[in-house]
């Protein structure tokens, strides 16, 4: 059967709306448990961060904090946001531009004793980069 033109437009319109709502619902469902929270050492120090949940930790690599383990692959350092610090451990090749005193984003999980275990380290490519919080804080001082 051929759908009557008037009905056809109605059907197409409702299909489009349905698709739009479907997209938004799917997106909200996806975001509910997959949006990684962006946290700073201060958030972790405040104790509001649940352990074993995927998140991104942002801040500066503290000067003098970088240590290498005996296996030659694991590095440990502390991330600071100017008010608090979080220890981070990472196994792998640190990216270009990763160094003490530069901005860093670590993706991973906080373990129950407060050590951040990173799966990925993103050093910011631009040397003028600062984590979004830092200028806010600098302005507040």
């Amino acid at each position: 059967m051929i759908v009557r033109p008037k009905h056809q437009r109605l059907i197409l319109l409702s299909l489009a709306l349905f698709a739009l709502m479907g997209a938004v619902l799917l997106a909200m469902w996806g975001l509910r448990d997959r949006a990684a929270y962006f946290v700073t050492p201060s958030d972790i120090a405040a104790g509001t961060t649940p352990p074993d949940k995927a998140m991104r930790l942002g801040g500066m690599v503290e000067k003098g904090s970088l240590r290498r383990d005996a296996d030659g692959l694991t590095i440990r350092f502390t991330v600071s946001d100017g008010r608090a610090i979080t220890p981070v451990v990472y196994r792998g090749i640190a990216p270009d531009l990763f160094r003490e005193g530069s901005g860093v984003i670590a993706e991973g999980r906080l373990n129950p004793v407060g050590l951040f275990v990173a799966d990925t380290i993103l050093a910011k490519h631009d040397e003028r980069y600062m984590p979004p919080q830092m200028p806010d804080r600098a302005a507040a001082k």
Binding site: M1, I2, V3, R4, P5, K6, Q8, R9, L12, L15, A16, A19, L20, G22, A23, V24, L26, A27, M28, W29, G30, L31, R34, A35, A36, Y37, F38, V39, T40, A54, R56, G58, R68, D71, G72, L73, R91, G92, I93, A94, P95, D96, L97, E107, K124, H125, D126, E127, R128, Y129, P132, Q133
Partner: protein, 640 residues
């Protein structure tokens, strides 16, 4: 002098855009002559903008450090290719490239568009001028690329070493041609809506421009993906970075538009929807520009810009997108009904394609903008990463690919013939691959498993439209579709193979150590210094052997003095069935070097697929252009 000439050209181009808009609004008077004037002004605007852009390239090539932009982003010791490509490796330069493409697109339409009636063309060129005018204002007021610097520094600060790659010469211009080329579809849609001429004629006029922009966008995204893959040294080919999403969103909209436009051109259906997509596609380009250029995102693409510029672009966005949607809302009731069709028909398949593409677009859009909105509303800092996009968008993309096995076999309007026999080839291959996968590779996860099955099934299915046809008489457009759909299958196979079968090794090695990765045995031989034009490097030598085949890989850790940075240069060995990818890290206290090795079976299919998709588009475009020329000649002969 050159800088001042460039700035003057930019002002002149802005004035020409204003004139073009005024003429299109009918302020010039003089019936009949106006379209020729508008065409001439559009052409002049394109030329003058190109002169401004050429002036910027000239100051970069001459390393004129008295120009602020050159001093901040270039260095006299750079190889000339990076001085040249460095022109758009910064905020102001890339915005000027953006506007140049916009103005040139307008000029090319003015010169070659003969399908639209004069009035509609005139209005469309007016819309194109209105777009250009806003972005000229943005350049002149908020990001002047020709600003002088006093006192003149001795030398510049250099270009971000990650951008010092031949890819910079091709990737941004290609991407921008696609991104901004979609403005033509936007302007023609505005013209059609204002003139109440929404019909097959508009679709036929719009189609080649959309196709051309879409080809460039596809190439740009494919090239950008490969560039990120070898340059960033993470072994990944897509990171769901907001900037990548900014190029993916217009591509999704343009792909939907490309399909719906055929329904409108061939059958007169989906009129309002196609106009909507034409508006949305370029709106997505502008949203992408806003995301990348406003400085609210930090990534390799956003060159740490002044946030006040964000407000300017946001205002432009609100004006253009809001204006276009308002126009659409007022005119949608006047758009005529299209020809009716059944649900099981080619039109029905294309509607499903459009709905799925729109849903994927919505998901990427929400995921990309959600962190910004959430931060503005609640102050909470969120980031949405690959887990979200992979788990939500990928299954939909697979459903879309599965649909591609069926829809091209359907007839226009109604299709009541039995379907099963027509989809059998693809279906059988897909099921066979799925079953073989369960037996041979029980460990892989479900998404790559389904990807392999759907990708494999789509290979025979994409050739099916050629069955039972005389191949010599098959229109080029059909060949183009076949090739593009085959490209999708190939790309999906590459993606699935990469995520299912990649093996990775991370090791701290001393010279002489051997590491196994996939079928390869890699011997770490030495680390030696190496020197390039503006860098020094530590270069590792790896001897990789597989069976009797031996190859040497030389990954580097490069040090650039201006600006002082270290980058990893991956070494990649490509063979017919995959790539061996090696990165060297730092030396530890005990003389060991960090090595990271990947064996990525069939990963090259991802980019081969992207290239095939673009090639399919190019063949379709060629076919349509030739056919049109033939028809026009027939018409002229008939009247002669």
């Amino acid at each position: 002098m050159i800088a001042e000439a460039g700035l003057a050209a930019l002002w002149l181009a802005a004035a020409l855009a204003a004139l073009q808009l005024a003429l299109a609004l009918g302020l010039g008077g003089g019936e009949g002559r106006e379209i020729r004037t508008v065409r001439a002004v559009a052409l002049a605007q394109g030329l003058v903008t190109t002169i401004a852009f050429a002036a910027l390239i000239a100051v970069f090539l001459r390393s004129d450090m008295s120009v602020l932009l050159v001093a901040e982003n270039s260095h006299s010791q750079k190889p000339w290719l990076y001085k040249f490509a460095g022109t758009w490796g910064n905020h102001e330069g890339s915005m000027l490239l953006w506007v140049t493409v916009l103005a040139l697109a307008g000029a090319v339409v003015a010169m070659f568009e003969r399908r639209l009636d004069e009035r509609t063309l005139s209005v469309s060129l007016g819309a194109q001028a209105a777009l250009a005018l806003g972005f000229f204002a943005f350049l002149l007021i908020a990001s002047n690329p020709f600003e002088r610097l006093d006192p003149v520094p001795i030398d510049g600060r250099g270009l971000n070493p990650l951008l010092q790659d031949p890819g910079l010469a091709f990737h941004p211009p290609t991407l921008y041609l696609g991104y901004v080329g979609l403005s033509v579809a936007f302007s023609i849609a505005v013209g059609g809506l204002i003139r109440r001429e929404v019909g097959p004629a508009i679709a036929r006029a719009m189609r080649p421009w959309v196709l051309a922009a879409w080809i460039m966008l596809t190439l740009g995204i494919t090239a950008g993906s490969y560039w990120a893959y070898y340059e960033l040294g993470w072994g990944g080919w897509w990171f769901w970075d907001p900037v990548e999403n900014a190029s993916l969103m217009p591509w999704l909209a343009a792909t939907a538009l490309l399909h719906s436009i055929n329904v409108l051109a061939a059958r007169g259906g989906l009129r309002a929807w196609t106009m909507m997509l034409a508006l949305v596609a370029f709106s997505m380009s502008m949203v992408g520009t806003f995301l990348v250029r406003s400085g609210i995102l930090t990534s390799v693409h956003s060159f740490a810009v002044d946030p006040t510029r964000g407000a300017f672009i946001l205002a432009l966005l609100a004006l253009y997108i809001g204006g276009a949607l308002t126009l659409f809302a007022f005119r949608v009731a006047h758009v005529k009904e299209g020809a009716p069709f059944e649900i099981v028909s080619r039109e029905g398949g294309l509607v499903a394609n459009n709905l799925l593409l729109s849903v994927i677009l919505g998901i990427v859009f929400v995921g990309t903008l959600y962190p910004l909105v959430a931060e503005a509303l609640t102050g909470e800092k969120l980031s949405v990463g690959p887990p979200y996009f992979n788990s939500v968008a990928s299954p939909l993309a697979l459903i879309l690919a599965a649909l591609m096995m069926i829809a091209p076999q359907l007839r226009w309007r109604r299709d009541s013939a039995p379907l099963l026999s027509r989809i059998a080839p693809g279906l059988l291959v897909a099921i066979a691959v799925l079953l073989a996968g369960f037996i041979l590779f029980p460990a892989i996860t479900w998404l790559p498993r389904l990807g392999l099955a759907v990708g494999a099934g789509l290979v025979p299915a994409s050739f099916q439209p050629l069955f039972g046809r005389s191949l010599r008489r098959t229109p080029l457009a059909v060949w183009g579709m076949v090739l593009a759909h085959l490209g999708v299958a190939v790309a999906i196979l590459g993606m699935a193979s990469d995520s299912a079968f990649t093996s990775e090794r991370l090791a701290a090695a001393r010279p002489g150590d051997r590491i196994e990765v996939g079928p390869w045995l890699v011997e770490f031989r030495s680390v030696m210094p190496a020197v390039g034009p503006n860098w020094t490097a530590l270069e590792a030598e790896l001897r990789a052997s597989r069976g009797s085949g031996v190859t040497i890989l030389k990954p580097q850790s490069r040090y650039f003095a201006e600006p002082p940075t270290t980058t990893n240069e991956a070494a990649i060995e490509t063979s017919w069935n995959g790539q061996l990818y090696a990165v060297v890290g730092e030396q530890d206290g005990q003389g060991r070097w960090q090595l990271r090795l990947w064996w990525k079976p069939f990963v090259t299919l991802i980019w081969l697929g992207g290239f095939l998709i673009a090639l399919g588009g190019a063949i379709a475009l060629l076919g349509r252009t030739l056919r049109e020329r033939r028809q026009r000649r027939h018409v002229e002969e008939a009247f002669a």
